[in-house]
């Protein structure tokens, strides 16, 4: 436990020290929320106030930004630097390293989600969502599933320089197509066809069902199953391909 807390503190220090990761993964969802809500927050989308609709999308976008993109980029950079290899030579057990990294990511995302909800309340008068327990469970499910996918993706990325590019190329279009920023109902048919296979689509749908339509997480098993299945696929890819060492020069 002492070792876990020590490593968690280390991971937190590393996360907030790295300005790029803190900006792109933590600040960007908050910035997009404030900007987009200022633009169309007063409109009505699918029968609810635009800013409320957007908040659910931004909570989903925040998960992919922190748990998926931030985690994957951070792991690849540390791996290609050789830091992971070096940590392997210390008594810190590998599972404890991974557990601390996940806990650190969850902590960052928790701060993000609370910030979004509080900002929504203060700036756009969005009521704090009902069914907070279901929402918290859904966010935890999403964070773990996307962290699994992020770890799986690290196996496919070869260089530290390429990591931001590769991760951004995956997650920014996904966030757009899955309807983080706008209602997917206005999208052309081919985009909706792509959206139908993306995990983020189901995750955001789950969040909207809980925050806008009064559902609980357990009344939406279909969305839960798709998100969990993608997360599991990520974990399997990570178990097969996760590397501690940089590519041989």
């Amino acid at each position: 436990m002492r070792l876990f807390l020590h490593q968690l503190r280390g991971e937190q220090l590393l996360y907030w020290r790295s300005r790029e990761s803190a900006f792109f993964t933590f600040m960007l969802p908050i910035l997009f929320f404030v900007l987009l809500a200022s633009v169309y927050g007063g409109d009505r989308i699918e029968g609810v106030k635009g800013s409320r609709y957007l908040l659910a999308g931004m909570l989903g976008y925040g998960v992919v930004a922190t748990a998926f993109a931030g985690l994957a980029i951070g792991v690849v950079v540390d791996r290609e630097n050789g830091v992971l290899k070096r940590v392997r030579a210390t008594p810190l057990p590998p599972w404890l390293y991974i557990a601390s990294l996940l806990a650190s990511t969850l902590l960052v995302y928790t701060i993000e989600a609370v910030t979004l909800i509080v900002l929504g309340r203060l700036l756009f008068h969005i009521a704090v969502p009902h069914h907070l327990f279901s929402l918290a469970l859904a966010l935890l499910l999403g964070a773990l599933a996307f962290a699994g996918m992020g770890m799986g993706l690290t196996a496919a990325i070869r260089t530290a320089e390429g990591s931001s590019a590769a991760v951004n190329a995956v997650y920014l279009p996904m966030a757009f197509i899955s309807g983080s920023f706008f209602s997917p109902h206005s999208f052309p048919r081919f985009l909706r066809a792509i959206a139908d296979v993306l995990p983020l689509t189901y995750f955001i749908r789950l969040l909207r069902d809980i925050t806008l339509r009064g559902h609980e997480i357990w009344t939406r098993p279909g969305s839960v199953a798709v998100v969990a299945a993608w997360g599991l696929a990520g974990v399997i890819a990570a178990l097969r391909g996760f590397r501690w060492e940089p590519r041989e020069g």
């Binding site: 630097n81 050789g82 830091v83 290899k85 008594p91 057990p93 060492e245």
Partner: protein
């Protein structure tokens, strides 16, 4: 006292390429053991097998009484590793990096003491990314020392250093030796092996081609060389009896009243032996 490291007939291939073709050696407690060889000779492969990073294809390895392939956290408490290229978090400061790694060990050295040992007192609050290459390398060493290991692996610790920085690093390594640490050092610098190592294994194409103290390695080599010029002609005499030959030469020169111009008596250096061992075919 049992050997700290035992390596017996270890083989390792990457695909069809044989990196190690059966190497044997032992390292005693408190010894600085040098593994010397050109790039591609198998030095890093050998060290990484001992550190537990690579699996050997065949042979027996024991490090601190355990097989590195199966050793766990308790074993890692006792070793320190400096990898061939610097590896650390760029955004942390020197003392933050050391504190982070110190926390991984049950019994760690005082961070301030390590900072002094590696000579980075003035940089203790500097971010790692602002350090020079040599300073990073010293921090690398500090990170390996912070767990107070019994056995230290240093893979080319001074490659890329300027001469002053190398001498400083040598002093640090000597002081570690005097603390009783066992050290395995790889290098492709002969003078480094000669200066630091109690014993040296010369590795070439995955085989150990020579092993012994620097003195034994030079002693095993053939003759002493006596060179001088007479009437502008260079004369070279190779002999196993340098005292007698030199005496005869100087007596003759005195008696006949000529000068042995540019007289030189030299033992072959480790460098010449090394070049003979690593370059000559057959």
């Amino acid at each position: 006292m049992p050997a700290v490291v035992t390596v017996a007939d270890v083989h390792k291939s990457y695909g069809s390429q044989e990196a190690l073709r059966g190497i044997d050696f032992e390292i005693e407690g408190g010894e600085v053991f040098g593994v010397l060889g050109p790039n591609g000779a198998g030095k890093t492969t050998a060290v990484e097998i001992l550190e537990g990073y690579r699996r050997r294809d065949a042979g027996e390895v024991s490090v601190l009484g355990q097989d590195p392939e199966r050793a766990g956290s308790a074993w890692r408490e006792r070793i320190g590793v400096v990898l061939q290229s610097s590896a650390m978090y760029a955004t942390l400061t020197v003392s933050e990096s050391l504190r982070l790694f110190a926390g991984y060990y049950r019994r760690s050295r005082d961070v301030g003491e390590v900072v002094r040992l590696i000579g980075l007192e003035e940089k203790r609050d500097a971010r790692v990314r602002t350090l020079s290459g040599g300073q990073k390398r010293r921090l690398d060493l500090g990170l390996a020392l912070v767990g107070d290991p019994e056995l230290l692996f240093l893979d080319e610790p001074t490659t890329g250093f300027d001469p002053a920085a190398r001498r400083a690093a040598w002093e640090t390594i000597r002081s570690l030796r005097s603390l009783g640490k066992t050290i395995l050092l790889t290098t492709h610098y002969l003078d480094e092996a000669e200066q630091l190592a109690d014993r040296v294994a010369v590795l070439r194409e995955g085989r150990i081609v020579a092993l012994g103290t620097p003195a034994e390695l030079t002693g095993a080599a053939p003759a002493t060389e006596i060179r001088y010029r007479r009437d502008g002609e260079e004369v070279v005499v190779e002999t196993d009896e340098p005292t007698r030959v030199l005496h005869e030469l100087t007596s003759q020169a005195l008696a006949e009243g000529f000068e042995l111009e540019g007289l030189e008596v030299r033992r072959p250096t480790l460098e010449e032996i090394y070049l003979t061992l690593t370059l000559d075919e057959s």
